[in-house]
């Protein structure tokens, strides 16, 4: 008989230790938690700046003589919120095998997201102030601009999802790409509601 004793572990680490994880938390869930944590810290930094500008320093918001286009932003908010509904429609459609619903839902979501972003750019061009006009305009552009960047990323994801949908890549059993993109899009929507309430309403 041959001895099969094998020492599984290597004594001398000339390299970093191998990654390890247990079944307590899966890498994908951990990755999502890290993503959420990083987003909270990112937006949190700007919201903290907003808090200091408006509450601690007692700056009137918006600083006179500037005005925020609340009505235009409200319409834009309605467009973005509606796009989440069409995104959900696309998701439920592909689960039921309704390819038309998937394609129409994704296309409408993309178009509404694009409308939101273009409207925001137009708002920037016509708003009448810029970052050199003080702390208030700076934090306004930072908060809305940071969210705009997230919308741009979401639109890029949506573009690929839509192209894939028209090429027939998704089915009732295989639509993970739509699921992940949908989660991100709703997340972007939630963040906009927070930004809208903070910057325009309160």
């Amino acid at each position: 008989m041959v001895a099969h004793a094998e020492a599984h572990l290597d004594h001398h680490h000339e390299h970093p230790p191998e990654p390890h994880f247990s079944s307590r938390i899966s890498p994908s869930i951990l990755g999502m938690y890290l993503f959420i944590g990083s987003e909270i810290m990112l937006f949190g930094a700007f919201f903290t700046a907003y808090f200091f500008v408006r509450v601690v320093n007692g700056v009137q918001w918006p600083t006179p003589p500037y005005h925020l286009p609340v009505y235009m932003a409200f319409i834009n908010t309605c467009i973005l919120v509606t796009s989440s509904f069409t995104m959900h429609w696309a998701q439920t459609s592909i689960k039921r095998g309704n390819v038309f619903g998937l394609r129409a839902g994704l296309l409408l979501t993309f178009l509404m997201g694009l409308t939101f972003l273009i409207t925001q750019v137009v708002e920037y061009l016509r708003i009448g102030f810029n970052t050199s006009n003080g702390a208030f305009p700076t934090i306004f552009f930072c908060l809305t601009g940071l969210h705009g960047c997230h919308v741009f990323v979401g639109l890029t994801i949506l573009l690929f999802m839509t192209i894939r949908a028209f090429r027939g890549h998704f089915s009732p059993d295989h639509h993970h790409g739509v699921e992940i993109g949908g989660i991100y899009w709703h997340f972007v929507d939630v963040m906009w509601i927070l930004v809208f309430l903070t910057v325009y309403i309160l």
Binding site: A3, P17, S22, S23, S84
Partner: protein
Amino acid sequence: MARNPFRSEDQMFKFLLVVIGGAVLIALGAWIDTWVGVGVAVVAVAGIVWWLLQEPTPGAAEQPPRLDSSTPAGMHRILVLAPPGSSSVRIPDAVTDVLVVVPALATPTESLTGAVDDRRSAAEETSRALVQALARDGRTIRGEVGADDPVLAVEDALRTFGADEVLVVGGDGIADAVRARVAVPVHDA
């Protein structure tokens, strides 16, 4: 266990609807007065957090299923769970396959900060020593470092190593805890 809205598109959409409801209330409060809006916002955020904590993920409250294991015919396999620092353990001569699992026991602070390298090194040393001590002709034996929770370490190991029984070195009720989670016989060493 709290609801995780990022688990699926459906749950995220439901979370969005809750946020929209809260936003409408905040906007109505702010329409009356900014500070009323702020007050409503505080209540709304507290309400949403409460909602997230109150609605558990379906199935999360249930006990996890007891893990079973299967042993290939003609073999007698044993999983040895030994804490770091163990120097020896007696196992029956008939055993043909042995997996030694040494949990990298760490304090909560070490686990949270990821400062577990020293603990893992100590577990590796113990694992290596036990593998050498238990090696003999006709026996396949290997060792590995497990999770920082002994029971979890056994559960992880049983997913890839079908054992006839689990042998637990050391007391402190670990054997009972393992027994409650796995279907294979568990014995104290």
